[in-house]
Amino acid sequence: MTGLADGPRRLHPISMVDNAIKAAPGALIGMVGAVGVLIQRNPALAILIAFGILAFLLLSAAISWWRFSYDIRANEIVIAKGLFSRQRRVIPFDRVRDIAIEQPLLARLVGTARVRIETGGSKKDEGLLDMIDLAGAHALRDLVRDMHRTPAAVTATDQPAAAPVEPVIFAMSIGRVLISGLLNFSLIFIALAFGALQYLDQLGVVDIERMIESRRGGAVAGLLNFRTAGILLLLLALLGVASGVLRTLLRDYAFMLTAGETGLRRRRGLLTLSEVVIPARRTEAARIETGLIGGLLGWHGLAFQTLGADAKEGGVQDAAPFARTDEIAHVLAEAGFPPLPDVAMTRPPARALVRRCGPWLALAGVAAIAARYLPYANWAALALVAMALAASLAWLREAHLAGERSLYVREGLFTQRLWIIPHEKLQVVATRRGPLQRLLGLSGLIPDTAGAPAMGAPRIADLARAEADMLAERLLADFYTARTRVRAGLPVT
């Protein structure tokens, strides 16, 4: 069952269909637009254009399939593509971190898979084989896995040994996925639907104003009373919950995390099956998210910040999106990560509260005075007081701890995030002091890690100044010792 023949091969022909479908929405929008404009003036031309676009779509899909080939050799994979400017890419197997296999619905129906060769480079589609047969995909994955076990001992023509069964570290039952979906309330689909409606309105397919107008004609008096508004809100909330459940079900169905050779392997998906490896060596930090309601019920989500690979998810990969504390501790231990903090974390000093609320309250005071002369200023004052309240709540939830193996940072107003940054993963450490912080003798501390998200990266917002300086020094010292231990192959105590 090698599925890996010698010589260059083409992708599975179904990828032509897949490519055409993928390009279809954009083309369709153009088509609808062109036909909509022309159909009354020149129907023949409109239909001709429509067919022309369709033919172009199919032809370009066929050509890109025709000109794309991949060749699995003893030590490398060669991908060639392009019609006029040919591109030939060689990916040596020792650069391959792992093979990610994804099966969208269409692929599952015909038994094919999308294979992404993860090299840890910055480009996302570095080694993308969009649709080869599933057996070939698995054979390629097993081949790479064997290479990692016994480097250069296995060649492409050898029978790859059957992959050993990897131990399951974490899995989610359908019931749990549904509960997590219930808490995954989202209004994004509704926004999308409104957006689509607006687009159709612009094209003249639908007339929103008349749709609303006809409703109004029937119930002018009832449109704005409390009952209708209440029902509308309830409907919206239901839709939000339903879309949350649907989205989560599509994504997290049959979630399973196993311990692979190079890292944790994650499989999930209802219609689109995906298989991704979270490479252990490139895992830079862990993030445990606790939602407002989920947290009350004891649910948390664990994700790992990884370097490179899949930029789609911002480098932060779900490992246990909806789990109990002990399950998260188990996954952390399996991943070789420092454990959850077992002692109380240090809270920011009380005077930091002055910095958080002070400016808002001062502005609120100004707005309150202005309210004597300006009509709406008291509302602004109220909003500013609310901001001050939110800032103090955020202050209340912050904490940090310099543990033996890692730095723990907790923050977040509604969704609380606990970051675990192993000492050996530290890149650069900086302290920052704004004018108010200097006045209050405070300092912020920013531990930078590789692949940290540009927004929402961990930081300790406020510390006593001396403590910040000491912590920075300590993090550095811990970084050197941890790194030396890792280099020497010793366990990081």
Partner: protein, 157 residues
Amino acid sequence: MTPLDPRQLTLLRLRFLIGAMILLAAIVVGELWLARQPWQPAFLSPWLVTGIAAPLLLAASWLLPLRRYRAWGYDQREDELIVKHGNLIRQLTVVPFGRVQHIDIAQGPLQRALGLATLVLNTAGTRGAAVKLPGLRPDTAEQLRDHIRGKIRQDLA
């Protein structure tokens, strides 16, 4: 902390002065335009704004760069570089040499004319992806670079 080369102060002043001159030119053009208008605001005598702005900008281009220059500083330790900067928000960045991916020495046209260079330490981090240390003499920058290079080599060995 080691201060930057004094010529960096000249550079900062020159840069500020260029910006101030552009601003002043805009003010002068605005006043010329205003003088051609049929209506004249009563409280504005001709060249009043220019008369106030010019000495203010001149004083600012002498004093503000001085403050900025004094906020900068660096400390070359055995295994890390410490860079301090910022007046309003004071930031102190520590870069362990073992984390440096590659090192750049950059020189703009003004810097070249004054004999200055900027050392850039690139790491794999996000916020600290490129830690810049301007205002070094080229030979100091090169010495620093060679020291760090040696450290990286030790680290890799």
